[in-house]
Amino acid sequence: MKKIINDPATVVADALRGMALAHADLLDVEYDPAVIVRADAPVPRKVAVISGGGAGHEPLHGGFVGRGMLDAACPGAVFTSPTPDQVAAAVARTDGGAGALLVVKNYTGDVLNFETAAELAAADGVDVRTVVVDDDVAVKDSLFTAGRRGVGGTVLLEKVVGAAAERGVDLDGCEALARRVVANVRSMGLALTACTVPHAGEPSFTLADDEMELGIGIHGEPGRQRVPVGPADELVPALLDPILEDLPFAGGDRVLLFTNSMGGTPLIELYLAHGIAERLLAERGITVERRLVGPYVTSLEMQGMSLTLLKLDDELVELWDAPVHTPALRWGV
């Protein structure tokens, strides 16, 4: 394992210190418990939009804290969901009197810890709602399993709901909007290489030189299927087709296409894949009205990518275009 770190046990806190210095104008960082807070929090009478999850997915979630997106993010240890006290502290720190919406990726650990936190915050008298994002079509959904994972769709939800909250939409409205996004967003990813969690010291799985993992999550966990690597013209449909079939998306739909790097895949490959995905969508009569291309929901240094499709309507387009000012996304300000 070669990483630019000192001690695996302190890697999250050490990175937070650098992040705090790099974005002092946007963020306040607290260390015990670890919470990244929008510098001007609490914003009076605004719904606080809060997310969190294991570290190692940067810029998710801390890079999306700021005006027009998240009020706070709670980073757990690498690939480990945060603890309830972090989330409770985030609620306390950002509550502007209009309640808080917790954006939770659907992993057992995240769900359980946020659940406990919501109980703590409710006990403090804050109106807290939870929305669980489960957009990963690689996982078959069922009442008898942990259900689908939350992956790339989370960023789109945070942007859109963050914009609504910034405009003064109330907690009911933010919650309903968040559920609408969840209902209309689908993702799927693949990995060409594994990643190494600092405290584990070894890659989370190993792949032969001609293999890839199809249907990976974002925690360095192996995917559903190990298959031979093909050319980009095969890889992109292998992600896109299951997404399209799932919702389903159909000709005439307007979509946001999010082409995401898992971290180690360079921009040149990502743009290449994005171009193919746009072509395939055009062939089906689906209109790509907005796009996001880059490493936004990562798994440390993992090489791979994911595609996310969000079905758009005028309101979602407007909220997507609304001003945002965070370390990782910025426009309109």
Binding site: A9, P33, G54, G76, A77, V78, F79, T80, S81, P82, T83, P84, D85, Y107, T108, G109, L112, N113, E115, T116, A138, V139, K140, F144, T145, A146, R149, V197, H199, A200, E202, S204, F205, G217, H219, G220, E221, P222, G223, R224
Partner: protein
């Protein structure tokens, strides 16, 4: 033989030592069908618990168990944090403000812990989780207690059953937790949470017997 708060604290220190010792093993198991953090998460949590116990040991066994619960909840994270935390919280509630714990109250605490884990995680036996270790452990503990065994016997029976239950997770296809994303590919691997549950019970038993 009955356990005081000091005994419970000593037993938890023993657990912490064993978890630390098996940290790499649990990481490896979790890397195979999860995300490789289970050993690190538990080690972090129990290390934090030992620091707290170094400061001040609560007067009653229930207080020690409650301290374990809150510490694990606020330091472990992941699925195991709330699950282990809830287990200890329910155990604490179950023993109430008894000054010492006897075999029956230990068996009852284990039963309460299991109920807490199931309430939180909604897993059933066969889903390839810690429930597969804890469920037979509770059955064995109750049998041992009903048969007149002391605390050591109860915990030893629980540990043995948990170990068997953990081993039995190997062929299973996971239906809960992160391993479930692997589908059929989760078969053939020992569940890390079941393994850690067996380790915790074995170290509790070992400490009480020594």
């Amino acid at each position: 033989m009955a356990c005081t708060a000091e005994d419970v604290a000593r037993a938890l220190r023993a657990v912490a030592a064993v978890v630390k010792e098996h940290r790499e093993e649990l990481i490896r198991l979790d890397r195979e069908i999860g995300d490789g953090d289970h050993g690190e998460n538990l080690a972090r949590g129990f290390t934090a618990l030992v620091s707290k116990l170094d400061g001040d040991v609560p007067a009653l066994p229930g207080g020690v168990l409650r301290l374990a619960a809150t510490t694990l909840i606020s330091t472990v994270g992941g699925a195991a944090g709330p699950l282990y935390g809830t287990a200890f919280l329910r155990a604490a509630t179950s023993v109430g403000d008894a000054a010492t714990l006897d075999a029956a109250s230990v068996a009852g605490a284990l039963q309460a812990a299991l109920e807490g884990v199931v309430a939180r995680g909604k897993a059933a036996v066969g889903d390839k989780t810690m429930v597969d270790a804890l469920t037979p452990a509770v059955v064995a503990a109750e049998a041992a207690s009903a048969g007149g065994g002391d605390v050591g016997a109860v915990l030893t029976a629980a540990a043995e059953a948990a170990e068997a239950g953990a081993t039995a997770t190997v062929p299973l296809v996971a239906r809960k937790g992160r391993a479930s994303y692997l589908g059929e590919r989760s078969a053939g691997h020992l569940d890390p949470g079941a393994r850690s549950t067996a380790l915790v019970l074995r170290s509790l038993a070992g400490q009480v017997l020594s």
